[in-house]
Amino acid sequence: MLGYLEAVGTVGGIYALLALALNLQYGFTGLINFGVVGFFAIGAYTSALLAMQGGPFLLDIAAAAILAAIFSWPLGLICLRLRDDYLAIVTLAFAEIVRTVIVSEEWLTSGTRGIPGIPRPFAGLPAGTAAVAYLGLVLATVVVTAVLMRYLVHSPFGRMIQAIRDDEDAVPALGKNPASFKLVVFSFGAALTGIAGALYAHYLTYISPDQFVPLLTFYIWMAVIMGGAGRLGGAIAGAALLTVFLEGTRFLRDLIPFVSEVQMASLRLAVIGLLLILFTLYCPQGLLGRRIA
């Protein structure tokens, strides 16, 4: 049971990092990024491939962040001058392209077979301690990110991105160019998403393309919306709630007899969907109250 909780905590922490990144992009700046999983995959594969070549852990993480940011840059340049909906469409397509490329470029990514045996840090520690140490690393990353985010949002930079979110067309009249602020936020969020991907790859020690489907993007959106978009603690609260929904439904098995495993898997998704619908119906402002109309 303890091992299970460590696993849930680690994955929940990675969701929290993803939600923090999306909350900066959507909650504070109004950028509609439907390609979260694309940057997550770039981070995971970059880090995994480097690690397989013997790259040290911290270098893998840094490379994941940098590569995700580099990929976000041209997307941002193209889309951020246009209206919000274009960014939504392009990022959604981008994430699917990333997955397709991973599937087809076997020489690099091993395609659908995936990459097994990614080294996990703290492997030298005794079995129980290693998992706790990794959980600690993930949670520490969440805390540091949240503190940085708080500083950023309360800075003059944070003021401008919120101004852009509230009324982008009023910003040029103040002598400031919204596109440059949006580009910084978009790349910074992508880098953070890449770091989350790297932590995910090193935790699971095996990655394959079918882990990087659009469903993950929408889970993270649900976390941000349930927590309260544009609220500093919202991303973390939302990710925690999402994890409870995703993991709690595993125990349905104990409650519902007479269904097959396959039926159970579908039923579980249906219950998750129902929980999300009920939550948004009865708590539309999110746990902490949303900041976006």
Partner: protein
Amino acid sequence: MSLAVEHLHKSFGGLRVVEDVTFATDPQAITGLIGPNGAGKSTLFALITGYQRPDSGSVRFGATSMRGLSASARARHGVARTFQIPRPFRHLSVRQNLMAAGPRQPGEHPFNLLFRRHAVARRERELEQRADAMLAFLGLEAVTHALSGTLSGGQLKLLELGRALMTEPRYILLDEPFAGVNPVLIEQIAARIRTLAARGTGFLIVEHNLPALAALACHLLVMDRGRLIAAGSPDTVLADRAVQDAYIGGAA
């Protein structure tokens, strides 16, 4: 600073919204722009401030041509504007709305947040003081920390004006600054505009409150259906038969 507009044209589809508009304003003179709804006043504002690109024609402020400059670049040249319908940053406080308009805050670049923290903090204190002085002038002290989304229509008009003034402009285009503002405050704002104009800030003001505008502006421009149909001192322009026809025609 003076504004010179030459042969400005703008069509949307087949509709000519601004047609061959040419005028120049004197420095220190407050210029009013009037005309019936749909005359093209707001589009003219958009063309002058870079929010729309003209089909042809030119805009100059002082000696500087604005050709090809974006709206934000024009604002950095000292050209400020307000919007007919206020555009507050509604989840920011009133004071933060004003501070967002302040120029030269290095902290708007994340790099400086890490490496020039003292310069950022110093500028932030300056902007705070300027914002508070502006709030005092506009009579908005009571709502300093309120979210701007909660203000009344008249308060939003004042915030809109305050935000434009915070950019340290040399030329200001005001789109209906008096709409929904109480008469006492209109007098105060008018007095402030006169003071700024006497110090060399140019003003172009669209306003339907003709008595208030006539008391303020020394020069009026009249637009109707995309064209300038009259220009001159308020007395002569408002007595002009064509102007009266345009207004009555527009109102009917």
